[in-house]
């Protein structure tokens, strides 16, 4: 019985989400329905709450200690702010890629296996681990470049582009369904940006991807739906092509034409 033909399955569904840093309110009544299996980009001027929103989806914000939240975020139909939600399980479902590539100071192979190892009490055989490493690196189009130096330190000898791909690859062995990316290309040169964008496009369908970007051209090229935020509020959420060609709001039009930002 499938009664929900009309509504597509949602990856992230927020209900009246409000967020404060101390007394400063960063997010106002966010109601977003982000679909599964597509790439959604999040654009807006600096300080509009894009990263804050992204960081509340895997609850990494809370480490700051002075963050207060009202409302709900449902990830795959489960409200992640309910008290019985286990953070480790949530973060298995939701992987985050940061602005600056942050490989751990261990070998490439150990980076990929890190998540797998902490989530599996008994250790896997070497051949199982080899298969996991190869699969993850192939998915991010990095296998051919690094297959001969898997035991090398991940923080030396890799270009930023390769490190960023590695940071994406190491999320995959724990089988997340959502990937959050916080300006994943802003530390990369144009060639690296193109390569990582190609990779993100490649991962579409297998993962729901939410990507924050300052680069309007990138949002336009590499996403299917686009959300425009301003001063902690969602202004517009539409298919990317529509948002860029016929924006419904004046603020959106002004921003994408570069009148502020």
């Amino acid at each position: 019985m499938n009664t929900s033909n009309a509504t597509e399955p949602l990856a992230i569904n927020t209900k009246d989400l409000n967020l404060w840093y101390g007394t400063f309110q960063a997010l106002f009544d966010i109601n977003l329905k982000i679909k599964q299996g597509i790439i959604t980009s999040l654009i807006g001027p600096s300080g509009c709450g894009k990263s804050t929103f992204l960081r509340s989806v895997d609850r990494i914000n809370e480490r700051l200690g002075y963050v207060r939240i009202k409302g709900a975020i449902e990830v795959l139909d489960q409200n992640i702010y309910e008290p019985n939600v286990e953070l480790a399980q949530l973060r298995k479902q939701v992987g985050m890629v940061f602005q600056r590539p942050n490989p751990l100071p261990i070998s490439i192979r150990d980076n990929i296996l890190f998540g797998h190892r902490i989530h599996n009490a008994k250790s896997s055989s070497k051949s199982e681990e080899d298969a996991i490493v190869e699969d993850a690196l192939r998915q991010v189009l990095l296998w051919d470049q690094v297959k001969d130096r898997l035991h090398q330190k991940a923080s030396v000898g890799l270009s930023l582009e390769e490190m960023q791909k590695l940071c994406i690859a190491r999320l995959l062995p724990v089988k997340p369904s959502i990937l959050l990316m916080d300006e994943p290309c802003s530390a990369l040169d144009p060639k690296g940006t193109a390569a990582v964008e190609e990779l993100i496009w490649e991962l579409r369908g297998r993962y729901s991807i939410l990507i924050v970007t300052h680069n309007m051209a990138q949002a336009r090229r590499a996403s299917e739906e686009c959300i425009f935020m301003l001063m902690g509020k969602v202004v517009e959420h539409a298919p990317t092509e529509k948002l860029f060609v016929t924006p419904a709001h004046k603020e959106t039009a002004d921003y994408i034409e570069g009148r502020y930002g």
Partner: protein, 289 residues
């Protein structure tokens, strides 16, 4: 159009003057260190011999060896480290990784730093009251070591805390985002990268524990004991106290004896520091980020 500016040689001279001033400061700092080592070696080296290192004191401590004092100092340092390192590192982990950043945490940090400045004789009195009398350990190695541990604890906490804080936050975020718990993050990523820093803090405290006289004087160190301690509930001799005794309390001591004791004490501390520096360099060679 741009015009070439003339090169100002006056600036170069000012720079040179600064360089000389700081260089002289450095020399002034080094002179006492070299002078102390030189005096110790010049006056203490002819007291050195195998019997001096491995025999008991004789003739009212005016002759013979200092083995019980060396042995006792090692006992005291080891037992005090066994108490202060696990406790101090655990406290630092709590403060750095678990404690929320609020007024209470900042007060605790401040109190810890201030505790490091409490004079050692005050720690000694605390040791007498707490360990010798209240816990009924008597004057013993245990009481003396715990007093030393209390004295060194603040610095172990502060230096461990600083090493933990110096591990980049990006590493922690990377771990959390793969679903690692706090403890998994600490165990697999934070501690391995903070290890050399923690070790340095600990080693500095070894030197302090070995050299302090006041905290052990009333709590467990004896002026003269003709036998070696069998357990932590025995009293013991210790190098620092022995040096004080032979230098000021015993008549007719040959001049080379106190210098010999001091040389051994400094030698042990230097040896420990050297080992620590070697371990650090060895580990750092492997660490890159």
């Amino acid at each position: 159009m741009f015009e070439a500016t003339s090169i100002n040689h006056h600036n170069d001279q000012v720079q040179l003057r600064y360089k000389i001033v700081f260089g002289v400061m450095l020399v002034i700092l080094i002179i006492p260190v070299v002078a102390i080592l030189f005096t110790l070696i010049a006056k203490g080296s002819h007291a050195m011999s195998w019997p001096f290192l491995f025999d008991d004191p004789k003739d009212g401590m005016t002759a013979g060896g200092i083995f019980p004092a060396i042995f006792g100092t090692i006992w005291l340092v080891v037992v005090s480290l066994l108490a202060s390192v696990p406790l101090g590192v655990a406290a630092a982990i709590y403060l750095s990784e678990y404690a929320p950043d609020n007024l209470l945490t900042r007060l605790i940090n401040l109190a810890t730093i201030n505790l490091a400045g409490v004079p050692s004789i005050v720690h000694a009195l605390f040791g007498v009251g707490a360990f010798v009398v209240f816990f009924k350990f008597g004057t013993s190695i245990l009481a003396a070591s715990l007093t030393l541990a209390i004295m060194t604890l603040p610095v172990v906490i502060v230096s461990s805390w600083e090493s933990l804080q110096s591990v980049p936050r990006a590493f922690r975020e990377a771990c959390w985002n793969m679903g690692a718990t706090r403890w998994q993050t600490i165990w697999h990523v934070v501690l391995p990268n903070a290890f050399t820093g923690i070790l340095t803090g600990v080693i500095l405290q070894v030197s302090r524990a070995a050299g302090e006289t006041a905290p052990i004087m009333f709590t467990g160190a004896a002026m003269f004991l003709p036998f070696l301690p069998n357990s932590v509930f025995d009293q013991t001799m210790a190098l620092a106290l022995h040096l004080f005794v032979v230098a000021t309390q015993v008549p007719d001591v040959p001049e080379s004896l106190p210098f010999g004791v001091a040389l051994v004490l400094v030698g042990i501390v230097l040896l420990m520091n050297t080992v620590a520096i070697w371990i650090r360099m060895h580990l750092r060679g492997k660490k890159k980020w």
